[in-house]
Symmetry: D2
Subunit: 319 residues, 4 copies
């Protein structure tokens, strides 16, 4: 093996660039060459591929987004399209590939693997919704962005004695919501993994008001419904001075946290090691603080399990 291709695919996440840097520098450290593939599988097809070296990758560890761009490309599900991608890899002399992205990106990676190019998947998404890894690259950064926003909202909520319904990202996963709820001392949290009862939420708010605290923050995972919808459901139950707010796309960008930079660096480095051992078709994860691998195929039948102890703490401390 001489040349490793790297791409980012799916939604961008802080730390993706740190992973790109890690793959690049680790490759060089091992006497290999790294090639950046722009725009994910779309760019692979288009041959939008370039030699990426230490210097290119040097200044990017603390930058959000992805310097390799990202794009959706559902066409890659078709075999003729895959074969054209394979041709491009051959043309550039690329022997193996690292794909950084979400669950979906792994399907593309697995196709390349089946066509004889060892492919490794790194979990890059803010949603933390990938099976077989406790944390994804980008989750910690998005979480801190959400929590920082809630610190700001708390100032206003307290000053005006309002109740903010705050919608955070996470697609179908409640991870950002429940971690952010604990970290922002939220008065309640609603996630897709757990049923909820609006009447109970209202009762909690009333009891909190009765005890003297007249403002509140309710964290809502986007996978449940929108903040506005939730506020509408809550309104009939009392005068809570409701405000619905959506933290939105700012969660996807920004300077990555130290945790995400280190996680991405370790995973990127490990991916190169595994490729050098001739392995492929593996998804890298971190479980119980150890870097682990699972067969990509296994991920497709699995479901990410959020750490429900965090949910329990969120609920109990917010009683």
């Amino acid at each position: 093996m001489k040349r490793i291709g790297i791409m980012t695919s799916g939604g961008d996440a802080p730390g993706m660039n740190a992973a790109v840097r890690a793959v690049t520098r680790k490759a060089e450290h091992e006497g290999l060459e790294a090639y950046g593939i722009n725009y994910g599988f779309a760019g692979l097809l288009a041959g939008d591929i370039f030699r990426i070296d230490s210097r290119t990758a040097d200044d990017i560890i603390n930058r959000g987004g992805t310097i390799l761009y990202s794009a959706r490309f559902p066409e890659f599900a078709e075999e003729p399209v895959q074969l054209k991608g394979v041709e491009q890899l051959k043309k550039f002399g690329i022997d193996a590939i690292v794909v950084i992205g979400g669950d979906g990106s792994y399907h593309g990676a697995l196709r390349l693997n089946e066509h004889g190019f060892n492919a490794m998947g790194l979990p890059g998404t803010i949603d933390n919704d990938i099976p077989y890894t406790d944390f994804t690259i980008g989750f910690d950064s998005a979480l801190n962005t959400a929590v920082h926003a809630m610190d700001n909202l708390r100032d206003t909520a307290a000053s005006h004695e309002r109740t903010f319904v705050v919608e955070v990202m996470g697609r179908n996963a409640g991870d950002i919501a429940m971690w952010a709820a604990v970290a922002s001392a939220a008065e309640d949290v609603i996630i897709p993994e757990k049923d909820f009862d609006v009447a109970e939420v209202a009762a909690k708010l009333k009891s909190s008001r009765a005890r003297g605290q007249k403002h509140a923050i309710i964290v809502l995972a986007e996978g449940v419904m929108t903040a506005a919808e939730f506020a509408d459901k809550l309104k009939p139950f009392g005068d809570f001075q409701l405000r619905a707010t959506t933290i939105g796309h700012v969660q996807r960008g920004g300077v990555p946290t130290a945790f995400d930079r280190v996680l991405a660096s370790r995973m990127g480095s490990y991916a190169v090691e595994l490729l050098m051992e001739g392995k492929g078709g593996l998804a890298i994860g971190i479980q119980n603080n150890k870097l682990v691998t699972h067969n990509m195929l296994d991920l497709f039948d699995s479901k990410h399990e959020p750490e429900m102890d965090v949910y329990k703490v969120a609920k109990e401390l917010a009683f």
Copy 2:
């Protein structure tokens, strides 16, 4: 004069607490006593008033929101209500008052002044929309929050080659929008003070794309329309990969910037000095870098003028 009352009124803004601290400590420095009035004019009426000293005010300079709470209280426009407020001031032995808030709060302050209590107004609002002051307390903080959010959005916009329409606060003023546009290198900015033409915005985006930059940020002042509405208007003109986002209430809270803390401290300190000279009915501002005063009455006939040189720079550098 022995006792000075302080209240915050209208929307909260970062730096209000720094002003509260400044009034409190300056009062003590001059041998006076400070009294905090909770919930603005509503709290005045209710007698929600307490002795505030250096220690209470000590830890608050870097905290957003207002420890004195804020509330709307349109009833204060009626004279019988005002007279009840006056009674409360007398009951607590308060001789003079400092009101930190927006334009509207000055009306209440002026009523107290007419009833014989010297009242000073400090411009506390993130919107920067108060006449006779170049900057209001809270503007710089909200601006930096907005710009920080746009830095994050830029990461995602660039990674996915999208166009973000970003709605910022400012009520009817375009100040946050145009300063944020310059500071975030936005591709365009729309403010209420200036007409705009959606076709021109679209043409600009197309020319920028033609030159090779495929993402963009358009800053939109909330006084014009919502981000979603603007995106809808823009959509027919081309495929810009539009995303509408609203930075929202986070702009109102958060740790105040150094600029806001210093501005609030100077203004609060100056208010006490002026009250000691027996003055009242004045709005404090900063113009051309000097603390100034204007008769509150004059403000009601005036309109805040944004610094249009900033707008010009925003437009020219974003061509």
Copy 3:
């Protein structure tokens, strides 16, 4: 059990307040009462103890330092002193105690345990140097502060093509240094757990310069030597435009990260659960992402093991 005492002891760390809040609220959730003990064991002796309830603990989750203060009190090693502490606990009707602090604080906690008061220890220190826990409360916050500082230094280093020797905290542990080195893409890292050779460091810098990168950051754990001392050792080996800088006490304070807030909340909550089960003399940790307990006695014979995979990544990616 009806009343739980809480204290912070040893050096302050971001997240301590989140732990105090968690113990307080979890206690209330379980129908118990929480008592804050100021100034650690010194305050225990002095009876500087107060009822702490949800409202007191409400606003503190995002504040650095400790609202319970901290103080050194080596006198607590003597039994007569301990017995006076025990008297105070009895006087306030406190049945059990949670001590948040470093290794040293656990000795005091164990003494109380021996005197019949169930005591739980939470690892609160930025240094990450406590055995049987992968992470301590405060480490992630200090790490991010250090990394943020290095991002700033990188700007200046690059602009002027300088080499910064940056000293970070950690007492005898290299954790902050090696994590920060990975996260800041440092060109080298020196920790107490590993020998180093100044000539090799110099050779690395020269080879990096030869490849075209003329600036560098070397992260140095304070447990090795001071930045100035290291720069002196490096100076004879070449003209590296050396600057020595110490990040210093800022690492101890500041708004805690989401990770630290969640970790502290979980640990604080767990401590109360364990006390309710009648347990004592245990140190709580997080290992392999699970909350764990170990007998405090075991900690005293053990040594914290840093995650050397992080060190390896730091070295390899910085080659």
Copy 4:
């Protein structure tokens, strides 16, 4: 005029890149070309000059340091050296030049002006020590970095009841120190522009302790002495639990604030306008909120005057 050269010279400051971007984009907006000159006057001599266009300058507004690098080059005081610089300008067809830097950099700019190349100076330094401008590019960012550090230190100071002597930058100017002192609610501030008496500082600390506040922050401008030296002077006067700390080089780097980005953008834009009018030999400043120009020669005889009202507020509110 067709081509404008841009360089940064002297110590780097956040916002320099925003100025480089502004000159570049404004030049393009006016149909001109911009050329970046690396390493200040040293790079000019070496012909380290390149065409800088909108795309190069696009991503830099929020990055600290200077992408044009900076270097000291005292040799430029000699005429033969200047003439070689002139040759390079001619070789690249550069007609006029913008120099972003400190006081010293203006001497070089003026020499070029005398040799027939219109030169404009922009005040780029964190120290705020340039005459005829109220603010320099970088001051607001450095100030906020210093204040943020002090917020962190306050947490630790309060938790352990210590007195921190905090040394901030500013060379011979006290601006950062006195603004930071107000913004961080420091208990005292020492600047080069004002005499001080250690006994008085000690008396203040004692009286503050007597009133119940047992921690303190004393802000010290580096132009007075080092933090360690000041702590040594203070030590004999009492047991203040002194810690000396130096914020250091982190103040020079980091993401520029909105204020600095806007200031730099306006100044850079204005510089191009003035060059187009055929002007040269001018230093741009902002005074009383208006962009102004002064003859560079006048600056050399002048001294920057700090806003002493800020000092007064610092002292009075910290009594």
